[in-house]
Subunit: 455 residues, 2 copies
């Protein structure tokens, strides 16, 4: 059967659901038994979906090791929520068991006092302290110091016995780094090379010196882009003296790429970047309200334009019918452009130096479509209201406003980027402010000039 895997997926899905239902029904022991049989990634999924009040009694019954594995798979928000539900005496030892970048992330997210308490309970605190100096959203803040490095003058035999002694994890041996006596990053070798080379070969003869790295202070988004651009599985992190201090791996950075996409979508729509459907309502209301009030100011400004033309509308009430059509389509055309520009900037597909070309391209598209849509609107207006003056005004205003939409759709995100702000931020509302205000102005202004042909 070709959809074998969907069946397997459905099974996983079913097992998750059963577990969740048992726990929600208060059957704790039975639910815990089911939970234990799931993959840690699925356990993380179940715990995230569970109401915090139901979660509390469970947390004391899951072992450190099991919980640590779950923590490595939890997404940022539920992980932080869970960490805050644990006592310091429990959280500290737990942080010793999770991956370092996860521990750093959690400590960054806690109130300073709680972070101090948790660290006091950690065995690994001294090793973690240097990582805490890096910002949450930098390569340094995302890295782990669990990597394997060989000295350049070792032989293959020495390197292999180093591996046997240190027993590194599977992910750490994908890239084996080579450093000089001063810990400076010199090159990289693969485990495959070690396996197929004779034991007395020098590491420095095997290594590739063309190794790409990121500085610890590099923004995580930049690090993610580079990992993806070059298809790396991990990227070494170096300090200001080019010393190897950690690695960031693709799975962390894959999450970053996804988070950034979500963030852009949410910002364009006026949602807080960490909004989820699992969040308590009280936390969602205010951020959304703030944004809606910005939008309200914007439409009231547009209402001001309409108000200025009340005299014109009084002479031809039919203007009120087509006014929102012109404003709305300008917004639609602008949203197409702004979405494309915001996403292209985020993916690095277009740069600020391309602005002129992009603007010309979008205006040409906007004028073409504005002409067609304007013409169709003019015909619809004529067919409906048999009013030539109104028909001409609606068509011309439509062309003007759709051209405005695409122009503003390029200039808003580009200007935000120039100001070193996020191009997605507030883009939507800024755009429709222009297309509403100018849409009403073009349509009612032209109508005022041609009122004798309309009324």
């Amino acid at each position: 059967m070709p959809n074998e895997s969907n069946d397997q997926h459905d099974q996983d899905d079913g097992a998750r659901r059963t577990t969740l239902e048992l726990l929600e029904a208060g059957e704790i022991q039975n639910g815990l038994a089911h939970l234990g049989s799931l993959h840690p990634a699925d356990q993380a999924h179940v715990l995230s979906a569970l109401d915090p009040s139901l979660r509390a009694p469970l947390l004391t019954q899951i072992s450190h090791d099991a919980m640590a594995e779950i923590f490595d798979y939890l997404k940022d928000d539920p992980r932080q929520a869970l960490a805050e539900e644990l006592e310091a005496a429990r959280l500290g030892p737990l942080l010793d068991h999770v991956e370092q970048d996860t521990a750093v992330d959690i400590l960054h997210g806690l109130p300073p006092e709680r972070a101090q308490q948790a660290m006091a309970e950690m065995a690994d605190a001294p090793a973690l302290a240097p990582l805490l100096q890096y910002g949450d959203e930098t390569a340094g803040g995302r890295m782990t110091t669990d990597f394997v490095a060989f000295q350049r003058d070792w032989t293959v035999d020495q390197a292999l016995s180093h591996l046997r002694q240190t027993h590194p994890g599977a992910e750490q041996v994908f890239y084996l780094y080579v450093v000089d006596a001063g810990e400076r990053l010199e090159g990289v070798v693969s485990l495959r090379q070690l396996v197929v080379s004779s034991p007395e070969t020098k590491i420095s003869d095997l290594m590739t010196t063309d190794v790409m790295s990121v500085a610890a202070m590099t923004d995580q988004e930049e690090a993610a882009r580079r990992v993806q651009h070059y298809n790396f599985i991990a990227l070494p992190v170096v300090d200001a003296q080019q010393r190897l201090i950690g690695i960031v791996s693709f799975d962390d950075l894959m999450d970053v790429a996804e988070e950034e996409a979500t963030e852009d979508m949410f910002r364009m729509a006026g949602l807080a970047e960490h909004e989820t459907l699992q969040r308590p309502i009280a936390q969602s209301v205010l951020p959304r309200l703030g944004w809606l009030l910005v939008a309200l100011v914007s439409v009231i400004a547009a209402a001001g334009v309409v108000s200025a033309f009340e005299g014109t509308i009084e002479q031809a009430v039919v203007l009120a019918v087509f006014m929102p059509v012109v404003a709305g389509l300008g917004g639609n055309a602008g949203v197409q452009t702004i979405t494309l520009v915001v996403r292209s900037l985020a993916l690095g597909d277009v740069e600020l130096r391309d602005v002129r070309r992009v603007l010309v391209r979008e205006v040409l598209i906007g004028v073409t479509n504005g002409f067609v849509v304007g013409l169709i609107l003019a015909l619809v207006v004529y067919a409906w209201k048999q009013n030539v003056g109104l028909s001409v005004v609606a068509g011309v205003a439509m062309l003007l406003n759709m051209t405005t939409g695409v122009t503003v759709g390029v200039l808003v995100p580009v200007t935000l980027r120039r100001l070193r702000l996020d191009p997605a931020l507030a883009s939507g509302v800024l755009l429709t402010t222009f297309t509403d205000v100018l849409g009403f102005f073009f349509f009612l202004g032209l109508a005022t000039l041609m009122i004798d042909q309309i009324a």
Copy 2:
């Protein structure tokens, strides 16, 4: 200096730009020399940015090997464009050198006749043919057959000498699969385990049997979600008999995750899913126009509602001023909800069984914010126009329409998913059709009832 890496990045950036400028200025030989010194990922970037007319003379001067490496880094659209610019006699041998999943992708994208011609020039065509049976967007269509598999009854020593003979690439040795005599997937071992185990150990004693796989027909989006959920680097692909036939690796699937995010954003905005700012204008105009015409029909429907109330507006022209305010904010509130729901469905953060909870949550938020925004609007209207009737009508209509917005914002994507359509598809226009039509209806309908208090 903490931003060492930004400097390195700026250098890469600069080298790319210099190369591009040389080639654009027609300095082909100099430009080619620069191009050759870049990382293949950066060469891909330069070739994508170059105008096709400038690109043509270059293509004949880049070696098969170099071009194959570039092809592995090109994004889908420019890669397809480039492939179509090459003659079959050139393209065939080139496809022998690229990764199999890339070759399959390109052949899928070509007109059948061109694909046949190219395959006639390929040495690797027989190996590729079975892969071509899988759809473009399935795990089978994305997989490569370059993987390493051991028989379960081999010893570590036999496995290592197999590795030395076959000289697999770095990515292929990350997971080493174990199969039975019938090629059925049984387990997985790591190279690290081989290295640290004694030579006579049986592979079957080392292997982990808990290995996750996907069926070849599984949708690529589902495969990508699973790789990301479990933080895998590669996922084995099996046929209906559970035989191991290929692997899909994280870098291909990371691109999938990014493409899916882009697709959702674009669909919500009414853009074709493969739209880019590099595309010829003629190809962009029609898809966008189609969408704008759908939007036009939608706003004309809303205009019909306004037209039905022309008599009311005639009695109080001031209604035309606040009419778009009520419609607009309903749309804004709805866009917040619909964006969150579409993204949560795409990421698997929420499922259809959660609809009732999500609807209750969003309606509570919508009513709360609708109440606040409605109250503020009522106060603004009163302060501006000193009209109590108008003030009450505007406030109440706002509350009703924002509640409509969030309700429709949940129901539209959920209904599309139930119908097995993409929740992002057409969501934006469907939403604003409701908030415009009902917004005008609530506001003008209430105003008609209370016209004595307003006019």
